[in-house]
């Protein structure tokens, strides 16, 4: 087997490539060009970034969990979130947020189809699926904007509910299970509500920042794809790397959805 053949990746399998490396003179091995994980540098680094990012999100969610665990009472998510656009004052728990979840899952699917099209050098396919991914990301951000502004209109924001002269039990009782609301003290209710909304806005905001930067990256690779940059380069690896990031954002939402709306 000639060296050039193997370097261009035409080895029948990873094992063949390994055997080729092992059989080569030492000098050739020291020239590099050997990937022990059979995966490119850029993708390895994206994975390692995602590991570190998962610890950032993990720290936020675990901090939220422990705060919730060491408080005697906690607002009921089904009562706190339930507003849906175009339904007025009606309260439908979980409906709007499950629409958001489906939007993000579908945009993850269109992203994996863009990556798939890239594997087969199908430029038109990559453009089509990336466009749909961007639309999905923007739709998710629009939903989140609506949800945040609706909560803000109701008076929820970072650092609210800390002044006992401004807050009464009556103004907080709609957030709690009626059995809890009947017995709770103002101090307990204020502490729990403040913690609840601080964590909600911090974590969904941090996730929203990730969605926004993911949309920006998707727009960048869409422009590059349309310009033919990746076609000339001979591979669509950049779409794969951004795809990993985008799937990670979807993955984090799966956990945020569970932690905030279900548990």
């Amino acid at each position: 087997m000639s060296q050039a053949t193997s370097l261009e990746g035409n080895a029948a399998s990873f094992e063949d490539h390994e055997k080729y490396i092992q059989d080569s003179p030492k000098a050739v091995r020291w020239n590099g060009g050997h990937s022990p994980f059979n995966i490119s540098y850029g993708k390895i680094m994206m994975w390692f970034f995602l590991i570190s990012d998962s610890f950032t999100f993990g720290a936020l969610l675990i901090s939220y969990g422990s705060k919730r665990y060491f408080t005697n009472i906690w607002p009921d998510a089904n009562l706190a979130f339930g507003e849906t656009p175009f339904t007025g004052e009606a309260h439908y728990p979980l409906v709007f947020v499950s629409i958001m979840t489906f939007i993000l899952i579908l945009s993850s699917v269109t992203m994996v189809l863009a990556v798939h099209a890239g594997h087969y050098m199908d430029k038109k396919g990559v453009i089509r699926w990336l466009l749909l991914t961007i639309i999905g990301g923007l739709a998710f951000l629009a939903c989140q904007t609506w949800e945040w502004s609706d909560l803000f209109r109701e008076g929820a924001w970072w650092g609210r509910y800390v002044d006992p002269t401004q807050v009464s039990i009556a103004s907080l009782s709609h957030l709690f299970d009626p059995a809890v609301a009947a017995k709770m003290s103002l101090y307990e209710a204020m502490q729990a509500t403040t913690n609840f909304y601080n964590y909600f806005f911090t974590i969904t905001g941090f996730h929203g920042c990730h969605v926004f930067s993911g949309v920006c990256l998707n727009v960048m690779i869409l422009i590059n794809t349309a310009n033919g940059t990746y076609e000339r380069r001979g591979h669509y690896e950049m779409v794969e790397k951004v795809g990993l990031y985008w799937h990670f954002v979807d993955l984090v939402w799966v956990f945020v959805f569970t932690c905030f709306y279900l548990l």
Binding site: N31, I51, N72, G234, L244, L263
Partner: protein
């Protein structure tokens, strides 16, 4: 040792577009088309996983609504079910959408082993929260005081 022409090519690749070194890794289906049987098989798998994700999410929402209105099962049981479904969804996304299932075992381990730190992370912080609420509700373990427990 005088490098031969092939070694030169090697150096050339390394100094310029490094990704060309891995083009076989990056682009295994370069010589196939999107309409090929192999491609269609992969698309069918993606669609299958999408349906699984949709079903599990719908189940989560229905379970959440049912638990909110009826409250038949204990909250602990429902929460354990939610966590199992969440981890299952995470597994599907990482395995198929992020293609971790297609990587070699060593790389999968390089990604997953650091994540086992989460087990310490979760246990330590929940234990801390448990200790805190105990101290808070007993005046630092000096007396039993009547506190309101929402989960009673």
């Amino acid at each position: 040792m005088v490098p031969d022409s092939e070694t030169n090519k090697h150096v050339y690749l390394y100094e310029h577009d490094q990704s060309a070194l891995y083009s076989g890794v990056l682009n295994p289906h370069k010589h196939s088309t999107i309409d090929s049987g192999e491609s269609k098989k992969q698309i069918r798998k993606i669609v299958k996983i999408t349906i699984y994700l949709a079903i599990v999410t719908t189940l989560e929402v229905l379970l959440g609504l049912w638990h909110h209105h009826e409250h038949v099962l204990a909250s602990g049981v429902v929460n354990a079910m939610f966590l199992c479904m969440t981890v299952f969804k995470a597994y599907l996304i990482v395995d198929v959408f992020m293609h971790l299932g297609n990587e070699i075992r060593n790389f999968v381990m390089a990604v997953l082993i650091p994540l086992t730190l989460f087990s310490w992370f979760i246990i330590a912080f929940l234990a801390d929260g448990h200790h805190f609420i105990h101290m808070n509700n007993t005046r630092a373990d000096t007396q039993k005081i009547e506190v309101f427990q929402a989960n009673e």
